[in-house]
């Protein structure tokens, strides 16, 4: 059955490719001004890879975005997880922080972009700030939930055996909450890409969002397609790396093993 499903998947994607080639060919109904043919996409890719587009060649544009996402994500993930763990461990601290957190949480991350530009301009610092706003919230919520859902008998047993607070945090609380923390980090990573691309579309000097913006202004459908494909590829790549890290760190955990088997 899985083999048959794979076959259908391949056929489906090939069919889509054929439909695309036909629809954008001179015989097809779609004008190349609206949507590029495969040949135009290939030409746009060659252009950005060799001559460059929107001020730089492919590696520089990709690395500009990738670097910002990784930087913003790491800052948001570390601060968010730390706050979430603290809120999960101490109900009093949670009661102290929660009202402010709930006040800021419903604000869509993209709404911070104009403020970040006003404060920090169009450079990298503003992008890192908006990524932080976007990626912080899921990291906090999932770390807190992860700690709250730890089986009480684990904590009671450790307490009864006189485990000190530091060892309890390092050897019980964090490992037990880790699968939930990683769930949050996946959401954070996704939010990081969305916000960065939006921020780069609003204003930037390099990066994939900048490529998309210039391609839009030049009415260059081939390059729009290349930009979107590169964004998707980078998002997939970073998600795969995060999943590999999770698998490496948490391979022992029952929930991760189940997911890997499935």
């Amino acid at each position: 059955m899985p083999a048959r499903r794979g076959l259908i998947a391949a056929a489906s994607l090939l069919g889509l490719l054929a439909l695309w080639a036909w629809a954008t060919s001179p015989l097809g109904p779609v004008s190349p001004v609206r949507f590029p043919s495969p040949a135009l996409v290939a030409a746009a890719f060659v252009q950005i890879a060799t001559v460059g587009f929107a001020g730089a060649t492919l590696p520089r544009q990709v690395l500009a975005s990738l670097f910002l996402v990784v930087e913003g994500f790491l800052i948001a993930a570390s601060t968010g997880t730390a706050l979430g763990l603290a809120m999960g461990v101490s109900r009093r601290f949670a009661a102290f922080v929660n009202p402010v957190f709930q006040l800021l949480r419903p604000i869509p991350p993209l709404a911070w972009i104009p403020l970040a530009i006003l404060w920090l301009g169009l450079g990298n610092a503003a992008k890192v700030l908006v990524i932080w706003f976007a990626a912080f919230v899921p990291a906090v919520i999932n770390a807190e939930t992860g700690v709250r859902e730890i089986a009480p008998h684990l904590l009671e047993a450790a307490r009864m055996l006189g485990t000190n607070r530091l060892r309890m945090l390092a050897e019980i609380v964090v490992p037990a909450a880790a699968p939930m923390i990683f769930t949050g980090l996946r959401l954070s990573l996704q939010a990081s890409w969305t916000t960065l691309i939006a921020a780069e579309l609003v204003g930037s000097f390099y990066g994939l969002g900048h490529v998309l913006n210039e391609a839009q202004q030049d009415i260059y459908p081939g390059m729009i397609f290349v930009g979107m494909a590169l964004v998707g590829l980078c998002g997939w790549l970073t998600t795969a790396i995060l999943a590999a890290i999770e698998q490496h760190l948490l391979g022992w955990h029952a929930s991760v093993r189940r997911a890997a088997d499935a």
Binding site: A11, R34, R91, P106, A111, L212, I219, V231
Partner: protein, 266 residues
């Protein structure tokens, strides 16, 4: 070492919460009042809420805040509605017809990592920046959760129910409308709620980039004019409307759960 009792007396929780809020607003107001940062860089909460009140009656960048919000909500409703109209039938059909599932899923997975906001250039090229372009961007944000929620709901249904229906010779169409749809409702509603949130987020993104009306456009204009308090008033307005939508859908979700149970068709 999570708290032993896992319980904070309500009076203490209230006090701590108020202290947190007081600290937050105190620092916000204090930064400007003590001259740590200039008021144009970070206007205090008083200035922001005063500006919010002013925007309700006085137009900024061509429209008052209620008019901007009405324009935004109009686009938003169209985009989310379109996502529901396409996502619901497709999700149900994918849950029921294995072949359709096997054909659509790889395409869907391929597009999953392209953020909705990256559709902005094509949306503008195909449908312009009036109503069509933004609606497409909201659609790309709201569609995946609708599809996934509906599909999961349809797949979650007790196979025995479907087998029984098939044994009794029930036609495809009636299986869809009388077994799959009611059984999948809780999961569908959960998907719609996520979709509504992501759609609102995509709308703001679209308005920041391409549109020339709506609350996002107002914020971009204020940013260009250096009017920090107006930008922050916009953030407050966007947050308020977003949470109002969320509160309404949570209430709807609770009502549906009472009516249909937790799902699974049992």
């Amino acid at each position: 070492m999570p708290d032993r009792k896992g319980f904070v007396p309500p009076a203490l929780a209230l006090g701590l919460g108020l202290a947190g809020l007081a600290l937050f607003f105190g620092i916000w107001e204090g930064c400007g009042a003590l001259g740590l940062v200039s008021a144009t860089f970070l206007p205090g909460p008083g200035a922001v809420f005063a500006d919010l009140a002013r925007l309700v009656t006085q137009p900024y960048a061509g429209a008052t805040l209620p008019a901007d919000l009405a324009a935004s909500l109009h686009r938003y409703a169209m985009g989310v509605l379109l996502a529901a109209l396409v996502g619901l039938p497709l999700g149900l059909a994918m849950g029921w017809f294995r072949l359709l599932d096997a054909v659509i899923t790889p395409i869907f997975d391929g597009l999953r990592f392209v953020p909705p906001i990256a559709w902005v250039p094509f949306a503008a090229l195909w449908f312009g920046t009036g109503i069509g372009g933004p609606v497409l961007i909201i659609f790309t944000g709201a569609f995946p959760p609708v599809l996934i929620g509906t599909y999961r709901g349809a797949r979650m249904i007790d196979p025995a129910l479907i087998e029984a229906a098939r044994m009794l010779g029930t036609p495809h169409r009636r299986v869809l409308t009388e077994i799959l749809l009611p059984g999948a409702v809780p999961s569908i509603v959960a998907g719609l709620r996520v979709a509504a949130g992501l759609g609102w987020q995509s709308l703001i993104g679209a308005e920041l980039i391409v549109v020339s009306s709506g609350v996002g456009y107002m914020m971009v204009q204020a940013e260009a004019a250096g009017a920090t308090e107006t930008v922050m008033a916009g953030i407050v307005a966007v947050g308020l409307v977003g949470s109002a939508i969320d509160v309404a859908l949570r209430a709807a979700e609770r009502a549906v759960r009472r009516r249909y149970g937790a799902g699974g068709g049992r």
